[in-house]
Structure formats: C-alpha cells, structure tokens
C-alpha cells in the first residue's frame, strides 16, 4: 500500500491541531466529533448502567427492597430509554463510525462536516430534554411509550418531554446517516472499489440506510403521540374510533429496523477484529457484505412480530412469523464466515479479539432464542416474560455492547495513540462475560417459569434466580468500572502505541496514530483490500508478526 510515510518529520495529529475547549466545540474534524460522541455515549452508558443496577437491586427480594413500585417503573423506563436512544443507537455509528469511516475510505472528512457537528449538538439537545424529563419526575411507560396507557391521565406530562427528546435524537441519527451514505458513495479514495471497502463500512452503510428511511417514521409517530396527548386528536384513542394498536405498528416500523441500527455496526466491528486477529483474509467477503444489506432490507418486513398478542390478525401474524425466520439467514451467513475466517488462522487472544469471541458466543444464544420468539405458538407463552428480556439483552448487550467495547479497545491506539493495560483488559472481559451470563441466563429460566417482565414484585419461588441475576449484574458492573479505569489511566501516558500495533493491513492503520487532521498526508492509492494478508504488498509485515504469534501460541 503506497501511503506517504510519516516517519520523516511527523505531521501534527488531530488532537494537537488546536488547543482549548473552543477548538473542540466548533471543530469540523470528523475524528474530534467522533471523540465527543464517544465520551457522550459512554456517559449515557453509565447513566443507563446505574439505573440497571438499581433495578436489579430492587429485585433482590420480594416486595419493596430499596424503592417503591412507582420509582421502580420510572427506573426501568430510564434504563431502557437511556440505553436505546442515548447510548446504543448512536454508539457505534456516531462514535466509532465518525472516527473511522473517512479514514477507512481514504477520505479527508465526511461529506458534510457542518451537518456532522450539527448532529452532535442535536444529540446534546435531545439528551438535555431526556435529563429534564427525568428531573421533572421521570416517565413510567417503558421505553416504548405504548398507548393507551401513555396517553392516559395516569402518566405524568413528562412523557411528552421524554418523547420529544427521542424525536430530537432521531434527527441527530438521520443526519449521521445521510452523511455516511454520501461519504461512502462519493468520497472513496482512488482504488477503493465497493468490494475493497472494509466490512465495517458495509455495515455502517447498511445502518445508515435504515437511519435515513426508518427514523423519520419514529419522528412522525412520536409527534402524533405528542399531539394526541396534548390536544386529544383521537388517532390513538379507541373511545372515539382511533386505534391504540396503530401506535404499535408505527412504533415498531421504526423500532424493529432500529434493532438492526443497533446490531449491524457491531457485526461490522466483529468482521474487522476476526480478520485482524486471525491474520487471515475474511472468509466470504462478498457474502458478509451483502448479508448486511439483506439484514437492512429484511428488518423492514418483520415489525409485526412484536405484536403477536396485540390483536393483529392471525394471517398477518403468520406472515410476520414466516418473514422473521428469514432474518436468521444473513445472521448465520455472518457467523459461519467469521468462524471460517478463524479456522486455521493464527489466532491472537488480545483483548479486542476476546470481545469478538464473546460476541460470537453470546450473539448465537441471542439470535437462536430469537427464533423461539419468532415462532407464533411459542411466543404466545413467552411474550412479555423474562425470556424476552434475556433474549434482547443477549443480542443488544452480548452483541452490540461487547462488539462496541471490542472496537473501542481495537481502535483505542488509533484514536488516542496510547495502549491500555492489556492484563487488566483481559480481566475486565472475563468479568463482563461471566457476569453477563450469570445475569441473563438466569433470566431465561425465570422467563420460561413464568416471570413477567417489568413487574415490581414476584412470588418467593423466584427469589433465588432473581438474586443470582442481581449478583451477576454487579460482576458486569465491576468489569465495566475496571475498563473505565484502565482506559482513562491510559490517556495520561505518553503516546506510545506506534502507528500499527496490531500489524493490520487495513487502510486505517496505514496512516499515523493518531492520524493527522486530513487523515493522510497524501490521498492514498489503494492496490489491495483491507484483509489481503496474502497480498504481496502486505506480505512482509504479516509474515513477521504471524510467525511471532505462532511461537507465542
């Protein structure tokens, strides 16, 4: 790969390019905007995580433990809304995607840098409204804001503020999506054909399509909810001929694709990690690339599987159930291709790859239990139980969050130029992986035994499993606190990572770490793909490190 060498006379990197708070607040550099997003979403992750710990602590014993039923309802709504709207949806695309997408394409920036900065400030405004809704008493509807409960007098008017927050956050997501689609189409460096793009870019691109086409439907749904709640126009009000289930249709028309907005970028990260840490070209590149697009398309056709017991017609339910099984195909394609990549590879057990392997294990369980829930007759028994809670946490947390943290660890040297304490990182992954399984596997069992989700109280028989789950959640929390500690500690060290600590042949590692303001000193000319560990240009680097890895393992 012929990229201008930076060894002679180092160009100032993007973190040095301006000093002071103002140089960050008005920056148009995609990497700085990505870093601001990164800290913001991690703050939201902490907020949502603390709420989760309080929810689990309340469930330690039957009856009231630390808070009353109303406070509990607000707490799990806070957990859900913060995790979904403030953390997971913007996490990988807006933080890592912003930092990496233009570098991976050899571009100087995203297509619309001002729109990019605007999307960050829109995110902040949305976050402020969400925090205000919490400060003014909170919301107890659950993150889905289902009518008719959410439009009834039983729910405080802070629900309008919370939905307005989600409405605003949606536009932040739409602007990010528009930016990424245009960047991928128009700003690829010479030589980067569609099939030389990293699979992370394919995943982010598929996600961006969903962000642009699905999010506006959520926006209009929440707007109608606000109008309904404020003026009583009747569209969701059954007493005058409206239809509360219409809200669910509209809501899931966005929120099911949103599940893929959350998981697809995570899958993209796993493709990068698997190839780099197995030192092999990705197996079935084209299949993995198109499986992202296929997931994006299928995700628009399955929203009705959230409504099997909401009174939609049996014919619609049967069709949605049938279509839901199709989602398993592209997911399976990815999973087997990752395994095929690792097969006979020189596998490194560096912490990012531990996250990737944890992802594959946990996402398999999450995905397969999704098949159970997609089957009509099974779903009728398991719906709204802890089985569903465990299923989507295996996908969202075991999937997306493990992938996100794998990505953070992998690209930490790229972003900040420092390495973290690898020993502590391995301990943290172990704590998170073990704690996660203790927390949520017990919830699968609770669900099959009949524990309904969102309940404040439960029969004494369930206490033991609830306590196991709560202990697991504390272990996970300890694991993430450890991660926070060694990552923050690493920033105080001098920039010691080197340009390419993982010996990757992907384009983003061929510039300096951290990269200069416009990413490359000269526009790179790309002669091979991001995974071509067997390409002659990339060979010397790979052979050296691959042999040392083999000795180690």
């Amino acid at each position: 790969m012929s990229v201008a060498a930076t060894a002679s006379g180092r160009v100032p990197h993007y973190l040095e390019a301006g000093k002071g708070i103002k140089s960050w607040l008005v920056t148009l550099d995609h990497k700085r905007i990505g870093v601001m997003y990164l800290w913001s979403v991690l703050g939201a992750f902490l907020l949502g995580g603390l709420a989760a710990i309080l929810v689990r602590t309340e469930l330690w014993s039957t009856g009231q433990t630390i808070m009353d039923a109303n406070a509990y309802n607000r707490m799990f709504t806070l957990h859900g809304a913060a995790m979904v709207f403030l953390f997971i949806i913007p996490s990988v695309p807006a933080a890592l995607g912003n930092i990496l997408l233009p570098i991976m394409l050899g571009a100087k920036d995203v297509a619309f840098p001002r729109l990019n900065l605007a999307s960050y400030y829109i995110y902040l405004v949305g976050a402020l409204f969400a925090l205000a809704a919490i400060a003014f008493g909170g919301v107890d509807t659950g993150w889905t804001f289902y009518t008719p409960y959410s439009t009834s007098d039983k729910v405080a008017n802070t629900a309008v503020m919370m939905t307005f927050a989600a409405f605003v956050l949606g536009f932040s997501s739409i602007f990010t999506g528009i930016n990424f689609i245009v960047t991928v189409h128009k700003l690829r460096a010479p030589g980067i054909t569609w099939f030389r793009m990293p699979l992370f870019v394919w995943a982010i691109y598929s996600t961006a399509i969903l962000q642009v086409l699905a999010t506006p439907v959520l926006a209009i749904t929440l707007l109608l909810f606000m109008v309904e709640r404020t003026f009583g126009i009747g569209i969701f009000d059954a007493t005058i001929g409206g239809d509360p289930v219409l809200f669910q249709h509209f809501f899931w028309f966005y929120s099911h694709p949103a599940v893929y907005i959350m998981i697809l970028p995570g899958m993209g990260i796993i493709s990068e990690l698997t190839s780099t840490f197995s030192r092999r070209p990705i197996f079935g590149y084209t299949a993995v690339a198109f499986s992202s697009v296929a997931l994006a398309i299928f995700s628009f056709l399955v929203w009705g599987h959230h409504m099997f017991v909401s009174g939609q017609s049996e014919y619609a339910s049967a069709l949605f159930s049938f279509l839901t099984f199709f989602v398993a195909l592209p997911s399976g394609v990815k999973m087997f291709n990752w395994l095929g990549t690792m097969y006979k590879g020189s596998i490194s057990f560096a912490s990012p790859n531990l996250y990737a392997m944890a992802f594959m294990f946990l996402f398999s369980i999450g995905g397969l239990t999704g098949i159970f829930l997609g089957a009509l007759s099974t779903d009728v028994h398991l719906t709204d139980s802890y089985f569903v809670v465990a299923h989507f946490h295996y996908v969202m947390m075991g999937g997306t969050i493990f992938a996100f943290f794998g990505g953070i660890h992998y690209w930490w040297p790229k972003t900040f130029g420092v390495t973290y304490n690898e020993g502590l990182a391995k301990i943290a992954v172990a704590l998170q992986f073990i704690g996660f399984n203790i927390t949520f596997f017990s919830q699968f069992i609770l669900g099959t035994r009949g524990m309904p989700r969102r309940y404040f109280n439960y029969p004494p028989d369930f206490e033991e499993l609830h306590r196991i789950s709560t202990i697991g959640s504390y272990i996970v929390f300890a694991g993430f606190l450890l991660t926070a500690w060694y990552l923050i500690a690493s920033l105080r060290k001098e920039k010691n990572a080197g340009d390419n600590p993982w010996h990757s042949v992907a384009l983003e590692w061929q510039t300096s770490s951290p990269p200069p303001v416009e990413n490359f000193v000269e526009t790179p000319k790309i002669k091979h793909g991001p995974y071509d560990y067997d390409h002659p240009d990339a060979a010397p680097l790979v052979l050296a490190s691959a042999s040392s890895n083999r000795k180690a393992s």
Partner: protein, 225 residues
C-alpha cells in the same frame, strides 16, 4: 482551509473536484427528501386506514372543506415550482446579471408561498369559526357547526388528520420560505454562477417536494369524498 490542494474558492477542502462536491450535495439532498417522504408517510397511511374504516364520515367531512380554495392553492404552488425551477436554471448560467434574475425569481416564489399561507389562514379561520377543529377544540355545540357532521361521533378524527397534515405541510412551507430567503440574500451578493449553484438546486429540490406533498394532500383531503 489547510488543504491548499486547489484554488477554487467554492470547493470545500475535503473534496477533490467541483463535480464530486456537486454530486455529494445532490445525493445528500435527495436522501433528505427520502426521509421527508417517510416522515409524511405515516400520516398518509393513517389517513387511508381511517378512511377505509369510516368512509361515510370521511365523505361527509371532506365536503366541509373548500375545494375552490384548495384548488387555488394548488395552482399557486405549481406556479411557485415553475419560478423556482427557472431560478435554478438562471443560477447555473454565466450571463451578466444572472444573480439579479435569480433574486427576482426567488422573490416571486417567496411571494407565492406567502399567498398560499394567506389562503390557508382563511381556511383555518373558517374552521375556528364553525368549530371543526382537532381534538379537544372540536366543538359540535358551536351554533354554526356543520349540520351534516352532527350524526357522526368520530368526525373529529378527520379534522385531526386535516390539521396535522396541512399544519406540518404549512411548517414545511415556512421552512421553504426561510431557505428561499437565504438564497435571495446570496443572490444579492452575486454568489451564483456555473461553478457555484448547488445551494439553489438543493433548495429548489426541497421546494418541489413541498409542492408535491400538497399535490397528494389536495385530492386525498378535498376531492376523494
């Protein structure tokens, strides 16, 4: 900007060629229009669902809307699309005083948008007067409330949709007037020529979409009784 790899003042630092920049801008605005269509789609779908459930009520309620006023506004908006399209054409041409023509054409578009809103104001005032308003402001006890609607207990659904759809469309018209005003200011500064017209073209595309939404709204609300 720090790039200094090109001298074209209209070319942002992260683009290599003016053509690349223009194509990026146009793709961006088309994607934005795509999300606008999805934004309005839920309201259209809801309107059609309720219309199929309560055809008699919709038929009767639609007769309370003024077809002449709606038709007049349709013509107004189509004319405004013509003046906007001409403005885009003039912005692309390197002829003397093309910016002055762009300015006047945008002013005409702006004025037609204003006419549309004035007619909308008269339509809304009439509904306020007779009590056919959305939600809790819906008032069948108003002495001038249309007699034909009194037989339906769900007529407020129709007016809920009417005000949501036309209100959101009206907000888009206002936003359009804002960005057309911005183009007028830039035309006053003689900014547009064959190398720099993307802003006019993007605003034009947005304005055509606003027009197009109305072209669907008018038959669905006023004509399909």
């Amino acid at each position: 900007m720090s790039g200094s790899h090109h001298d074209n003042p209209y070319l942002a630092h992260h683009f290599d060629t003016p053509r690349q920049q223009l194509e990026a801008n146009k793709l961006g605005i088309w994607l934005f229009l795509g999300q606008e269509i999805m934004f309005f789609s839920a309201l259209f779908v809801g309107l059609m669902i309720f219309r199929s459930w309560y055809p008699q009520m919709y038929h009767t309620a639609a007769h309370e809307l003024s077809v002449p006023q709606g038709a007049f506004n349709t013509i107004v908006l189509i004319c405004s699309s013509l003046t906007m399209a001409l403005a885009v054409r003039w912005a692309q041409m390197d002829v003397p005083n093309n910016n002055r023509t762009v300015f006047w054409l945008c002013l005409a578009t702006f004025a037609l948008a204003g006419v549309f809103l004035v007619v909308k104001y008269f339509e809304y005032s009439h509904k306020i007067h007779v009590g056919t308003l959305p939600g809790k402001f819906f008032d069948p006890s108003n002495p001038e409330f249309p007699a034909a609607l009194k037989q339906f207990d769900n007529a407020k659904l129709f007016f809920g949709f009417y005000f949501c759809l036309t209100g959101l469309h009206g907000i888009h018209v206002l936003a359009g007037m804002g960005v057309i005003g911005w183009i007028m200011v830039r035309a006053r500064r003689n900014e547009f020529n064959s190398k720099n017209f993307a802003a006019v073209e993007c605003v034009g595309l947005y304005w055509h979409l606003v027009d197009l939404v109305w072209i669907f709204l008018f038959p669905l609300l006023y004509l399909v009784g």
